[in-house]
Amino acid sequence: METFSLTINKLIEELKKIPTIGRKSAQRICFYLLKKDPKVALDLAAAIVEAREKTILCSICYNLTGQDPCEICASKQRDTTKICVVEEPFNIISIERTGLYKGLYHVLHGNLSPIKGVGPEELKISGLQKRLGGYSVSEIILATSPTTEGNATAHYLTEILKKYKIRITRIALGLPIGADIDYVDSVTIARAMEGRTEIL
């Protein structure tokens, strides 16, 4: 597009890389930022830089955090006998919103997908196995989404966690076909948490 200056185009291209943002939204955000009081854009830029610089992965659960270990892993209030395995950090927010779950988490950062080149090594699985050695963990809750990749990942985890002789449960089963865990409301997640089914 030659209609805009190079710098504006660059901003639009960068915004377009963000998930769920297409060309139209990118243009709207771009012009919103450029037309408003400069402070709006500068504050946003500063917030992004600061969050980016101060955010790291928790060395235990791989959640995004400002401190290591993260608040959940460091808390004395949490039930350390349970670990809920999720795909992405934002899944934790959905489950925390229900207020029902008091255990720990583990973030895989994705799902198995041979086509996308994601195998077991690309996911934070060995970190999970390490945690099972030391802790008094008695239950692993697999909360990957009920998509094809999410299911395959849950099956993979079931296979490799067999040898630890702990309870393995799956909560995705109550969720509708095709639904990602993040799009499902708190009530549904709460119901799924209560009705989680035993795999092993």
């Binding site: 195998g119 077991p120 094809t148 299911n151 490799i160 076909i177």
Partner: protein, 352 residues
């Protein structure tokens, strides 16, 4: 359900067409190349989101134009809905009453059954084609089936990719687990559907005509995730060697028999009549499940049909809307639409 109006723009040779249909028996007739099959193809696309032919959407756009637009007014019970399919450079979109929609949503208001009088031999001779026909049938009466099939296809793609790239057996096992879960749903649904359809065929035409469902998985010990997983486990080494999936619902077979003899051994006219009987039985089954008739599309209505069979067909579909095409006109239809080449001079002739 009834198609009331149909408007096409830039579709195949039909640069612009606007027709209304009667709720009963419609016949579109005209010379070869007039665009008759294309009209049914457009209707089909509004039902299934794709053509019955293996073509890219861009090939459906008129040579001199850069987009196609299909709009259909449908009556279901007393509810009128508007279905739109549009294809432009930026993609293919479906709309229901002007809102963005999808095939599953549209199928609640419109479901066509398509029978091609010139291509039925391909259906009988090709396992893939037959599976497609049966899949489409089940899609019409079972709301979750399309999700099963889509999920299964995704799983299969991932597994085949894995078989070509790594030899991680543990990872393969997990895909097999997911595949066996989806397979048992599909096989179970197909089994139940074929039973129901056979029952319907027998009700209507006696017990000479049957469909035999031959799943790729052995179902003698039952249908379950575990039973199928065990079979995948047994086939695993062969699959690794061949670098592709060798067993599963994507290889299921359906065979048609008349008086215990496979359809393959019958004459063209006989095959066609028998296949048509199966379609008619399905239409009855659809009616029982959904409490209404689908729309019956029949291409090249007259080929290899004798007069007796034409009457047989129309007698067996009393209350259903039929949209048929042929080169010649037939008096047994109540709405005759002549399609002139290039469709510029469309003439409507009321029968009688």
């Amino acid at each position: 359900m009834i198609i009331q109006t149909l408007e096409l723009k830039g579709f195949r040779n039909l640069t612009s067409l606007d027709i209304s249909l009667s709720s009963q028996k419609n016949l579109i007739y005209g010379l070869n190349g007039a665009g008759k099959t294309s009209i049914l193809e457009a209707i089909f696309i509004l039902g299934f989101g794709k053509s019955f032919l293996k073509v890219k959407k861009s090939d459906l756009v008129n040579f001199d134009m850069n987009a196609f637009f299909l709009k259909m007014g449908v009556l279901k019970g007393s509810i009128e809905t508007e279905l739109i399919a549009s294809f432009k450079k930026n993609g293919f979109y479906l709309f229901l009453n002007k809102k963005n929609s999808n095939v599953v949503e549209l199928s609640k208001y419109f479901y066509p059954v398509f029978f091609s009088s010139s291509n039925y031999n391909r259906t009988i001779d090709s396992v893939t084609e037959m599976r497609k026909v049966i899949n489409r049938f089940i899609f019409g009466v079972h709301s979750l089936y399309i999700h099963y099939i889509l999920s299964y296809n995704k799983l299969l793609k991932q597994k085949n990719y894995l078989l070509k790239t790594t030899k991680n057996v543990l990872e393969l096992n997990s895909w097999n687990h997911a595949i066996s879960e989806m397979s048992s749903k599909i096989v179970d649904t197909r089994m139940q559907f074929i039973n129901k359809l056979n029952h319907e065929i027998e009700n209507k035409f006696g017990n000479h005509l049957t469909i035999l469902y031959k799943p790729s998985f052995d179902t003698n010990k039952g249908i379950s995730d575990d039973i199928f997983y065990q079979q995948l486990e047994k086939t695993k080494n062969l699959e690794i060697k061949n670098q592709k999936s060798m067993i599963g619902p994507h290889l299921d077979d359906f065979e048609f028999y008349f008086k215990s003899i496979n359809f393959k051994f019958y004459s063209s006219g006989e095959r066609k009549l028998h296949l048509l009987m199966i379609y008619i039985a399905f239409i009855e089954l659809f009616k029982k499940t959904k409490n209404q008739y689908p729309v019956f599309l029949i291409d090249d209505f007259d080929t290899t049909f004798d007069n007796q069979n034409i009457d047989f067909l129309l007698e067996n579909c009393p209350d259903i809307q039929v949209v048929a095409t042929s080169v010649h006109k037939f008096k047994s239809f109540d709405n005759l639409i002549e399609l002139k080449c290039g469709n510029k001079d469309l003439k409507r002739v009321k029968n009688g």
